[in-house]
């Protein structure tokens, strides 16, 4: 008995967490996927009826807005956060004397809740009292900056706040990458008289492909899950102009009482994330022989 126990102790120790993960992650995903094929409204129903919830999603103008916004927000957020992060990292890598304090400043937004970030930017972008008034006071009397309340432009305010919060993090990733580039190659290139910009463009940046991938994964994952930022900044409005799949799902689940729509939209989100994460995890966890 003690022998058996001794042999299986590692598995027994792991078991509670594994059971929890299997029930609360995989079991729950299964439940949501199943319910997305039922007619559930206020209460869950368990008779399968086919993909009617997905047909309803496809026909919903609000869902279309949510998907379009995800595309706009996702692309711009990833693009700007990556470019700014990379530029900051390269500039900080030039033997800057005040690197420590600067890095601390660039990265502190990552310590904040998206609700705090949203609250701050909602105030800064306030039409009337915010940035707009700063420019009007400077003499640009017709300057208007009302993106926050403009249905066509409000989604871009989410990009502004999101990039502000996350670009420092991308900088940290790239800076770590720059520090691990082989110094010998760079010194050799410099001896050959190749200019610094050329060295960056043709040697250093291409060698950081894995970091581009990592930051793409992290940022796209953040974009798909974005919920708090939208709620705090625009509340999904004006109307539902800044809805994202995450806020659509929440609205269906907790204010509209439409479990079927909530489950099907959550399942679509799950599929998007899976399409991005699974190949990444596979390549990261695959045993390497180098």
């Amino acid at each position: 008995m003690t022998d058996w126990l001794e042999k299986h102790v590692p598995k027994l120790v792991l078991a509670p967490s594994l059971i929890a993960i299997f029930v609360f992650v995989y079991g729950f995903i299964g439940w949501t996927a199943y319910v997305s094929f039922t007619k559930s409204r206020l209460l869950p129903k368990y008779d399968l009826v086919g993909p009617i919830q997905y047909e309803k999603l496809a026909a919903s103008p609000r869902w279309e807005v949510a998907l379009t916004n995800l595309a706009i927000f996702g692309i711009l957020f990833i693009l700007f956060a990556t470019v700014i992060g990379l530029i900051l990292a390269i500039m900080l890598d030039q033997k800057i004397r005040t690197e420590g304090p600067l890095r601390t400043i660039y990265l502190y937004p990552m310590a904040l809740s998206f609700i705090v970030t949203g609250t701050a930017w909602k105030w800064i972008l306030n039409p009337g009292l915010g940035i707009e008034s700063v420019f009007r006071d400077m003499g640009f009397e017709n300057f208007t900056f009302d993106w926050l309340v403009n249905p066509d432009l409000a989604i871009y305010t989410v990009v502004i706040a999101g990039v502000w919060q996350s670009s420092g993090f991308v900088m940290a990733l790239f800076l770590a990458g720059l520090r691990s580039v082989d110094g010998e190659i760079i010194r050799a290139a410099m001896v050959d008289g190749i200019s610094t910009p050329r060295i960056y463009m043709s040697i250093i940046i291409p060698s950081m492909a894995p970091i581009f991938l990592s930051s793409f994964i992290v940022l796209s994952h953040l974009a798909i899950k974005s919920f708090d930022l939208v709620i705090a900044l625009t509340g999904g409005g004006p109307g539902y102009a800044t809805d994202l799949p995450a806020t659509y799902m929440y609205a269906m689940a907790f204010s509209r009482g439409d479990i079927g729509q909530a489950a099907s939209s959550a399942t679509v989100m799950m599929m998007i994330v899976t399409a991005i994460i699974v190949p990444y995890l596979y390549s990261e966890l695959r045993p390497r022989h180098d």
């Binding site: 660039y106 609700i115 609250t119």
Partner: protein, 303 residues
């Protein structure tokens, strides 16, 4: 002959001086850009602080970026103990303590589980353990919307819906993946010969953990605790989905204060409330930034 070499020398010097000037100009441009970026990142924090110290009158008439004419701390007091989150007007205070009460046990339990799981997955591998690790890791990345509905039903069935222990359970379950990842990647760097030798000496699973692994773990414990604390303190989705009036965490209360529709819009109180909600995690970042960054990058770069 001498004249000629003099000229050469002068030319050299001029070229050198030009190169030096160019270098200085470049450095100057670089520092200017870096400082401009720093101002951009600091601007929202600056605006929050100065707005929280102004009176409403000054906010309406003054400029967003100007310093307060006279410093007025009253909005901080109101944010802490008088602002309305709907019908209740007790400020952030009760919700601040809710978040404290929620995060301390949740951080402790998920860190402990992560340590022991990571120890098994790094040093006591068995057939299939790598696949189990991958399955746990995948749990970190799911969009949590996909578990909200069944979780709400489960919490109701367990009779802990809308309670702090219920929310704690949610944070522990979905935190295990990351805490396990941190400890597993840390323990994997410890040579397996050490465990083998200890086994020969008759030490068992727990003895080896407590006498060899735990004593070297403080750095990764700090990283994990900071990560979990930041995640749980800053969480909004679980908080807003699984709490009710009275048990809400601070992020939900902050959002309710800012979006309260009754009465005059008090921007100074909103900003003071936002700073109060941000202070604990900011403090952790300032005190232990190195560990904070290590946690951030550990999840995305293979260590």
């Amino acid at each position: 002959m001498t004249d000629h070499s003099m000229n050469d020398h002068q030319l050299d010097e001029r070229a050198n001086r030009n190169r030096l000037m160019k270098r200085i100009a470049l450095r100057l441009g670089l520092y200017t850009l870096l400082i401009l970026f720093a101002l951009y990142y600091l601007m929202p924090l600056f605006v929050m602080v100065v707005t929280s110290l102004k009176s409403l009158d000054e906010i309406r008439t003054g400029s967003l970026l100007s310093l307060p004419r006279e410093i007025d701390f009253s909005s901080w007091g109101k944010a802490w103990s008088g602002a309305c989150t709907g019908i209740q007007c007790n400020g952030l205070q009760p919700y601040f303590w809710n978040s404290v009460l929620l995060s301390i046990p949740a951080v402790a339990i998920s860190t402990l589980l992560g340590a022991i799981n990571g120890y098994v997955l790094a040093q006591w591998r068995f057939k299939g353990s790598n696949i189990l690790f991958a399955l746990m890791l995948f749990g970190c990345f799911i969009p949590f919307q996909v578990v909200l509905l069944p979780m709400a039903i489960t919490l109701g069935a367990l009779k802990i819906a809308g309670t702090i222990p219920g929310l704690m359970l949610v944070h522990i379950v979905y935190g295990i993946g990351f805490t396990t990842l941190f400890f597993r990647n840390f323990y994997v760097t410890i040579p397996q010969e050490l465990v083998k030798a200890a086994k020969v000496d008759g030490a068992g699973f727990f003895r080896i953990f407590f006498s060899i692994f735990l004593p070297v773990s403080p750095p990764i414990i700090v990283v994990t605790v900071i990560w979990q604390f930041t995640q749980i303190w800053n969480d909004f989705l679980f908080g807003v989905s699984f709490s009710q009036a009275g048990t809400q965490p601070i992020t939900v209360a902050l959002n309710n204060i800012v979006n309260a529709t009754t009465g005059v819009k008090e921007y100074n109180v909103d900003m003071a409330a936002a700073i109060i909600a941000a202070l604990p995690t900011l403090l952790v970042y300032v005190v232990a930034g190195k560990y904070f960054i290590r946690g951030l990058t550990a999840g995305s770069v293979k260590g």
